[in-house]
Every structure is written in C-alpha cells, then in structure tokens.
Symmetry: C2
Subunit: 198 residues, 2 copies
C-alpha cells in the first residue's frame, strides 16, 4: 500500500491557513487551495471528508491544539496567581504574534457559526480546552485571592484584552511605529491582574 505523503497533508493545512489569513475564510475554495498547495482537489478529499471537516480539523487540532500547548508551556496551576497569569500572557502573546495565520483562524472561531459550534461540541465531548487554567482560577477563588465570578466571566476578564492587543499588534506591523510592545503587554497584564484580585 502506498503510504500517505505527510508533506502534502501539511502543505494543504499550511496553505489553507495562509489563504484564510490573507483573503478571509469567505474566499477559501477547495480548488484555489488545491492549486496553491500543488495538489489535486481529490487529494484533499482523501485526507478530509469535506470542506467543513477540513476547516474544523484545521481549527481544533492544528490551531487550537497548538495554541493551547504553547500557552500552557511552563505554566503550572500551583503557581501563585500573578506569576501564573504573567506566564499565560507572555506565552500567549509570543505564540500569537509568531503565528499570524493561526491567530486569523482563532478570530473566525468566534465569528463563524460553523466553527463556533464545532468548538462548543469539542469542549463538551473531549473535555474543556485550557482545563489547567480552569483549575488555576478555581484554586485562587477558593483561596480568596481573586473575586468569585463565573468561569466564563473570569476568562473574558483575563484573556479578551490579550487577543485584541494582538490584533492591534498586527495592525501596526506595516506602520512606522509599533505601539503594542512587550512593555505595553506587560502593563496591560498587570492591569488585568489588579482588576481580578480582591
């Protein structure tokens, strides 16, 4: 049996992310993707059931999986609160600014109903994404270090500004000065920590 060519599979994924980041999910077509990845359209259908299957696997496995792993690298839920959040912010910012195409698909994960539903399903069936952060927050609520709010609210307070700041970072990439520096990120992280603590 002829084995799958993993380079082709990776090319399909990488170039799909490129097209989504540059032209938008609305403008990704299977034929355009096949041509750009130097592959027959049929080859994509050997590896993915259909277009939705490709997009969901791209989003859940390729992007969110890698983003989660990078964010949690060196993080331990037993860290003290400030240290933990700073680690998560630093990991997240470094990863996203170095993986612009991943970031683009993460944004579509919020806006596209189809990707949003896939994310909810995955979170229910396979266990929560970012489970260590869930426990980290719970521990710190129980220890009386941070305020007691629903987890989804805590997560919004902790990480929404970071994603928006990454957006601003990319908006300034082709301009004379970068406004979103590591120092600005660190200051914003401090503000977030201050807001959450009792």
């Amino acid at each position: 049996m002829r084995p799958k060519n993993l380079e082709k599979e990776q090319a399909i994924r990488t170039i799909a992310l490129d097209i989504i980041a540059k032209e938008g999910l609305e403008n990704l077509s299977m034929q355009k993707l096949a041509k750009a990845a130097n592959v027959s359209p049929r080859t994509i259908y050997i590896k993915y059931e259909d277009k939705d299957d490709l997009l969901i696997k791209l989003f859940i496995t390729e992007v969110l999986g890698a983003y989660e792993a990078a964010t949690l690298k060196g993080f331990d839920e037993r860290m003290d609160f400030k240290t933990g959040i700073k680690k998560l912010w630093d990991n997240g910012f470094q990863y996203l600014k170095n993986n612009r195409t991943h970031f683009a698909l993460i944004l579509y994960g919020k806006s596209s109903p189809m990707l949003n539903k896939a994310y909810q399903r995955e979170n229910i069936q396979q266990g929560q994404f970012f489970a260590p952060i869930h426990r980290f927050i719970q521990v710190n609520v129980e220890a009386g270090i941070i305020q007691d709010l629903p987890f989804d609210a805590q997560r919004a307070l902790m990480f929404s500004p970071l994603l928006d700041l990454v957006n601003e970072y990319f908006d300034h990439l082709n301009r004379p000065v970068q406004i979103i520096t590591d120092e600005v990120i660190a200051n914003c992280c401090d503000a977030v920590i201050k807001g959450m603590m009792k």
Copy 2:
C-alpha cells in the same frame, strides 16, 4: 421618476444581517439574499455597487453607526471615570444583547480581512469611531486618574471583555441557566475599572 422603495432597501439589509448571523458570512450569497428579501437580484445592485459595497455599508453604517450611537447615548466625556465606564458598559451590553445580528457582523469585522480594512479606512478618512471615548480616556490620563497607556491598549482593556461576555451571553441563551447576568456584567465592569485606575 419612480422613487426608491425604502422598505425594500431595509428588507435587504435586515435579511442580510439575519443570514450572516445564522449561517455565517461565508454562506451569504446575493441570490439567496434576493430570494429571502423577496426582491430581484438586480434590485440589490441598484442600491449597492457590488457585494463588498453592500457588506461594507452594512457594517459601517447600519451596524457600527447604530452601535456607536447606542453606546454613547447619555454618555458625556466630562463624567467622572467610574460613572462614564459604567454607562458605556451598560449601554453596550443592552444594545448588543438586543441586537444579535449586529453583534454577529461586529465579530466578522475583526476576522474578515475585507471588513477589517474597510474599518481602518473609515477610521482614517472619516474620523475615529468612538471619538468621545478617546477624549474621555485622554482627559482621565492627564488628570492622573488612570494609567498612561496607548489608546488602543486602553480600549482593549476597557471593552474587549464586554464583547466576549456578550458572546457567552448568547451561548447560554438556549441552555437551562443564563450565567451572564446584569449583575455579572456589573462586577466585570468594576474589575476593569479597578485595573485601569492608578
């Protein structure tokens, strides 16, 4: 000369927003829209140059314009900092939770490269969206009430969590309990204020 039928124009806009919210921007086609709005495809092209023109006008005028007006209603940049932010959060939350289709397009404004570029262009050519908030922040930085950070960073700290909380609000709409209540929103707003103040 036969006058434009404004009801048809409004139907086109409203139903376009419906389709985007339910099926996603990727699944909005001119023919589907025409059929759903009970209009000939040609009629859409009388009112809009092409598909991009329709989407940009929907986003900038119909959605962002209304969102800005609703957010700023009863807000005055001379309010004291806490009162001002609370007003903006309350206005924003009420508006978005009552206008789900507008919210859906606002999310695409962050992810879709075409809408994102249109927003940047508009912000440069026609003057900043949310200019009173810009001045409000500046005044409070100069008075030493809040920390001195780039405007884009301040805005991310102030409003990103709100948009994510609205997302959570809608995610919980069809579930047994609503986790994102007015009280949770108020507590999150307090946390944001606390984080920004010196």
